[in-house]
């Protein structure tokens, strides 16, 4: 059973690794995605995420379960929601496997699939306004909340 969580608290990578650590695993791969101070050439002043939480959590759990089965892995995934200060972590994934090859593949697959499918959206505020990111698009918003 994978560990998945949506949270408004800071993510702690070491805690996530501890959740997948078992005697059977020899290789652990983690990914963390941090909030950067620039995006599309603009300075990012603030950033926040919202989710359709019940479905996002269900979907995360499905992905992580698929990864565990498909790659013989143990997986833990957390995504932070709400405002996130620049330089802090928005998403963290930890994968443990018997062998490193599967661990790399499972972790890569998880972050790629999470980004494509889990109903979570990023709002970025630049000096000249705020946008919703939706897939590849940026859409202006007046909602400064």
């Amino acid at each position: 059973m994978p560990f998945v969580r949506l949270t408004r608290e800071p993510l702690v990578l070491a805690d996530l690794v501890a959740r997948v650590r078992t005697k059977e695993c020899g290789g652990y791969v983690t990914f963390s995605g941090d909030v950067r101070d620039h995006a599309s050439g603009k300075r990012v002043l603030a950033l926040s995420y919202e989710a359709y939480e019940p479905l996002a959590e269900k979907e995360l759990r499905r992905l992580a379960s698929d990864a565990e089965l498909g790659f013989s892995a143990i997986c833990a995934v957390e995504h932070r929601l709400g405002p996130i200060p620049i330089g802090e972590t928005a998403v963290a994934i930890a994968v443990g496997c018997a062998h490193r090859s599967e661990a790399f593949e499972a972790c890569r697959w998880l972050i790629d699939t999470l980004k494509a499918t889990v109903p979570i959206w990023k709002r970025e505020t630049y000096e000249d306004g705020t946008v919703w990111i939706e897939g590849d698009q940026s859409i202006k918003t007046d909602d400064a909340a």
Binding site: L55, A90, V118, W132, E134, G135, Q137, T141
Partner: protein, 81 residues
């Protein structure tokens, strides 16, 4: 029947709120619901091709028949991670 619709990301701006209640005829599908929304606001036009759909917290399709009290989510392309 009463339907609760959830709008996310820029669709919330379009809808004017993240959550709104609508009165639909019994047995309406999501397709009919979306057509009704597009009639009410041109910016909802094409939303079914753009957004993914959920009913009561599970992925859904345009053909899904709605029921009293259903929660319908309109979910733009994701940008998590």
């Amino acid at each position: 029947m009463k339907i609760r619709a959830l709008f996310f990301a820029h669709l919330r701006d379009v809808a004017g709120a993240g959550e709104r209640e609508f009165e639909l005829r019994e047995g309406a599908t999501i397709l009919e619901f979306a057509e009704y929304l597009a009639g009410a606001d041109i910016r909802f036009h094409g939303m079914l091709r753009y957004a993914r759909l959920a009913v009561n917290g599970e992925w859904s399709t345009t053909e899904t028949v709605l029921h009293e009290g259903d929660e319908v989510g309109f979910l733009p392309p994701s940008s998590g991670g």
